[in-house]
Amino acid sequence: MIEMTRRERIEVLVDAPLAPKLAEIALASGITGHTLIRTESGRGRDGEWSEDLLSGATAKYIFLTIANSESASRFVQAIEPLLESHGLIVLRSPVDVVRPERF
């Protein structure tokens, strides 16, 4: 059986215009890669949003990154100031990966 290693899965729900900023922060936290996932719509404390808008101002992505425990913590720490102001949602959970040296 292929050996798998424990890593951290971090997901951040983020406004589209802010996504590049998160990528910068991730890089600065020593995280080598990420993937943006498309969302369609949602509902939160501010009511509903959806992509149907011309400006793209209310679109959101899920910023997914796999990292080792230290980088993950550094990253979550670094985006802390944005959490309240930008209404980010941050999820963290363990995941097993192949080729762990990549992350």
């Binding site: 802010l18 900023k21 501010d46 808008l53 011309l54 101002a57």
Partner: protein, 320 residues
């Protein structure tokens, strides 16, 4: 009031109304977002080209410069004009005041495009260079809005913001197409005129259908739009538009272009500014500023503003 009927019964405005009614009836009619984005790229390229070709034909006069200056001043000043009303009468905090104010200083491309189409159907022709004024007015208001919100330098996104302000997609496309129109002139425009000229009004219809849907849904979905704020969203275009027409007449623009300056001053952005605000004032309530600019002011301008500012410009133009 015959003019009002002409405006209201033109195909683009009727499609806007159809969209609004469909959304009000909770129909599932919708225009996919990418299609709408494609249509808006087309409209901006077309209006830019048309303006440029027109300038290539008519030449650049001294009015261009004064119109550009007037546009710059209006875009930068209007946010400061509307801010006190938003804060005191509307009860908004500083951040939301700045964000909403920025929208009213900036402009709505589609309102301008619809006006220029509706006007030209009755021989009331806006000067080509007004497209450059349109582009000029898109972004200064963003800086004014941020000043009002007192978000000072050293900020997280200031470099991105400056780029957003200077090289915003719609500004680049409008000015770029304008420049291309000037370079190619009427001859060079001929092979592309079937798409950009003949197709124009039809595309505008489809786009306004979508705008009607979006505007009405925006209103129905928003929680934070109070009656007072809705009243301001009607008052602002009247006041700002009047100022715009007066300014246009004062600097000696021809009557249709004065009306167009009124339209620009009256209109509120719902493309460039929301994106910038989301980045720079993320604490501001996006539902609110979109409801005001897109849900109230935009329909008001399409239905009432377009004939109103024309009537006003004609009244002033007839003065000795």
């Amino acid at each position: 009031m015959d003019q009002l009927t002409t405006t209201l019964l033109s195909a683009p405005v009727l499609f806007f109304v159809l969209g609004a009614l469909a959304a009000a009836a909770r129909s599932d009619l919708s225009v996919p977002e990418t299609i709408a984005k494609g249509l808006s790229l087309y409209l901006m390229a077309a209006i830019g080209l048309k303006g440029g070709v027109e300038v290539a034909r008519a030449g650049v006069g001294p009015e261009l410069l004064s119109a550009l200056a007037a546009g710059l001043v209006l875009s930068a000043a209007i946010p400061f004009l509307v801010a006190p009303a938003l804060a005191r009468f509307g009860g908004l905090d500083r951040t939301n005041t700045g964000a909403v104010a920025a929208h009213y200083g900036s402009v709505s491309v589609v309102t301008f495009v619809t006006a220029s189409q509706v006007y030209s159907d009755t021989g009331f022709i806006i000067a080509g260079f007004m497209v450059a004024v349109l582009a000029m007015m898109e972004t200064p208001a963003i800086l004014s809005g941020l000043l009002i919100a007192r978000r000072e330098g050293g900020s997280l996104f200031s470099r991105d913001l400056l780029r957003e302000v200077l090289f915003n997609g719609s500004v680049v496309l409008l000015l770029g197409s304008f420049a291309i129109g000037m370079v190619i002139g009427e001859d060079g425009f001929e092979p592309i005129s079937p798409l950009f000229k003949a197709g124009f009004t039809g595309v505008l219809c489809l786009f306004l259908l979508d705008m009607g849907l979006i505007a009405m849904r925006r209103i129905l979905k928003t929680r934070s739009l109070t009656l007072r704020l809705a009243a301001l969203a009607v008052l602002f275009p009247i006041v700002n538009g009047t100022i715009g027409v007066l300014a246009g007449t004062a600097i000696g623009l021809d009557t249709p272009s004065s009306a167009a300056l009124g339209i620009l001053a009256a209109s509120a952005s719902y493309i460039a500014v929301p994106a910038a605000m989301r980045l720079s004032l993320p604490q501001a309530d996006a539902g609110l500023y979109l409801a005001m600019s897109l849900g109230v002011t935009f329909p008001f301008n399409i239905v009432v503003g377009i004939p109103l500012f024309r009537a006003l410009a004609e009244l002033l133009g007839a003065q000795p």
